[in-house]
Symmetry: C2
Subunit: 374 residues, 2 copies
């Protein structure tokens, strides 16, 4: 397929279902890539967005990667990716990795639509289906600190997750005192029991704070303890892992295979239990994510350790096609980007990607309307 038009827009996103609650000025880019492929009389258009958490990338998309894609000629998604990365220098794995990943998502959406396949089916064709899973373990992600009535609103949010059929959940810690965070963790544990609740410190702790949190959390039988310190502070992470036998999770804020190998070599992680959160959008898109997967599999990591960050439909297709350990879902955060397609519910804690052509954004009317407006 040939990319003949690219449009992008920056969109404000919120950690809360109520976007009036201040949320750090987060943004994401939405993009459309129009192809020269015609289906049912109209051009196939792929949609993508910048996942959550690393800001919109309009400038890099318009100025650097979009023009390369428009000049790439007739390409598969993998060839398009190579064209976008041409001339990029070693190191510096921030921002551009998100810009490339945003366009990459739209390319896969377009290619799968052109093949009239749901993305997970298209990926099985492309990468082989030996590991594919029809259903994937999922957890409901949210639990950000509320500016007021935090404990009762947190409890309401988690009850809603349980009512929606989720049997695992993750909340955020690190934005208030450890004492309050332990109260939050215990309130959430009353709804999601042993082994079913994860806590995410969002890289907020230094070594001493992380050690204090680990000490307090280790009796609480968590699903995992996530982003325990700065993502490049492998010294602190190793010390914290050394004081915390239960699973820890890392990798959400590392965006390259080069950094993933360093994490494996120096980060103190345990291949028999720890969790890898790399985001298939933020890591230069699917080709970059697969490079990380192959590198770490080669070093002894099981695929079941990979629970991709993002909480959106793209990660779900990727996890299904590649047979990963599980996925995040944002049932209430980051509307309209989070959550499943309408009417979809977990079954025994597992979910399936939609069977619409492409990623299936069209099954989420609010999100589809955002994309169509491009």
């Amino acid at each position: 397929m040939r990319i003949v038009d690219i449009r992008e827009k920056s969109i404000d996103i919120s950690r809360y279902s109520d976007p009036a609650i201040p949320s750090g000025g987060l943004t994401t880019s939405i993009v459309s890539v129009t192809t020269d492929v015609v289906r049912n009389g109209v051009p196939v258009i792929g949609y993508g967005f910048s996942s959550m958490g690393r800001f919109a990338q309009g400038g890099l998309i318009r100025e650097r990667f979009g023009p390369r894609l428009l000049a790439a000629g007739d390409v598969t998604p993998l060839e398009a990716w190579t064209a976008m990365m041409k001339g990029e220098k070693a190191g510096g794995h921030g921002e551009r990795c998100v810009a490339v990943g945003t366009l990459d998502m739209a390319l896969w959406d377009a290619a799968a639509k052109a093949a009239d396949l749901p993305l997970h089916g298209y990926l099985v064709q492309e990468f082989g289906g030996g590991n594919a899973l029809a259903t994937i373990p999922a957890y409901a992600s949210g639990g950000y600190l509320y500016p007021d009535n935090d404990l009762s609103r947190l409890t309401d949010e988690l009850k809603a997750f349980a009512d929606a059929g989720y049997c695992r959940a993750k909340i955020k810690i690190g934005a208030t005192t450890l004492e309050r965070d332990l109260a939050r963790t215990d309130a959430a544990s009353a709804i999601f029991g042993p082994g079913c609740l994860a806590v995410d410190a969002m890289n907020a702790y230094d070594a001493e704070q992380g050690l204090a949190a680990a000490k307090a959390l280790k009796s609480r039988r968590l699903m995992w303890f996530e982003d325990v310190c700065d993502p490049h502070d492998f010294e602190a992470q190793s010390r914290i892992a050394g004081a915390y036998d239960a699973p820890i999770a890392a990798g959400e804020a590392l965006f390259s295979a080069a950094e993933a190998k360093l994490l494996d070599r120096h980060g103190g992680l345990r291949r028999d239990r720890d969790i890898l959160l790399f985001d298939p959008v933020h890591c230069y898109g699917l080709p970059g994510y697969v490079e990380i997967l192959i590198a770490l599999e080669g070093r002894g990591w099981p695929r079941s350790a990979f629970w991709p960050h993002g909480g959106h439909l793209f990660s779900l297709h990727v996890a299904s096609a590649l047979g990963l350990g599980g996925v995040e879902v944002n049932p209430s955060s980051f509307p309209p980007f989070g959550g499943l397609v309408d009417q979809a519910r977990p079954d025994n804690g597992r979910i399936s990607p939609p069977d619409l052509a492409g990623i299936g954004f069209e099954g989420k009317p609010d999100l589809a309307a955002l994309f169509s407006a491009l």
Copy 2:
């Protein structure tokens, strides 16, 4: 000072004095920041650019960091930096670090002009002058592979460096066969003798290629062997350092204190001889650079190991004020950004920053014209 207007433009730059020679589509951003400070009846305006080698950053400057700076109120350069970094997440040290560094350069230019001091004098006031050096060792940097007549054009380029008063130089390797690179190195060594020529492999080698190059280069008594592999491949770098007793240089493509500490801990570098190339623009500007300097000094590195990348006047002021080991100069590459102010020449291989107010871009008429046109 308060920033009342910011302008930016993306500029094509070339590795060659002849910009007609293809040069990888390199770009840099130029910016102006207009302050509310009036001197001689006109507002003080600071100028900055994105150093060389990591592409222009117009989108991030316009969309993310410029607006924060305009909203920052009455600030010093350090306070302005904190305002620009507000809400930025851990990890992801690429692109944004260049955008912030570009604006940071202009802020220091403006602040020094407002104080009617050359930047090195202003920095001595800000950071203390205990380490300041009036003159700094310098080397002439260039020697990129020419598409034709490479050896004779390389020789001409290096003779011009010697004629301009430089007694140290650096050339690029890694873009052709090792055999041709050894011939290039030997041709350059005939002009810049033992200990006076560095070679820069531009992160092009994997471990085996780097080891082969190290083995061939070690008899050649180089000033240093630079960027010997991927900047995050500390395993390869350690192996290469283990096979190469003479100095190696690293850090040009690492942009944060977090990564600098990893380089120190895992990169196999030797504090008694190796060279640290961090770029004071690309590392989130001067505040980020100083954070790296303090972190590595605390781990036993001497200031003399720091030879900042960039080859421009900003690095020269920083090196002088902080008392670093030396600086790169680009006498012919990246016109009009490289090189000294007109009429300035090395004296015994050492140079001084200009004594004009601010960075002194006004002493380079071609460059000053670019900035004024903003």
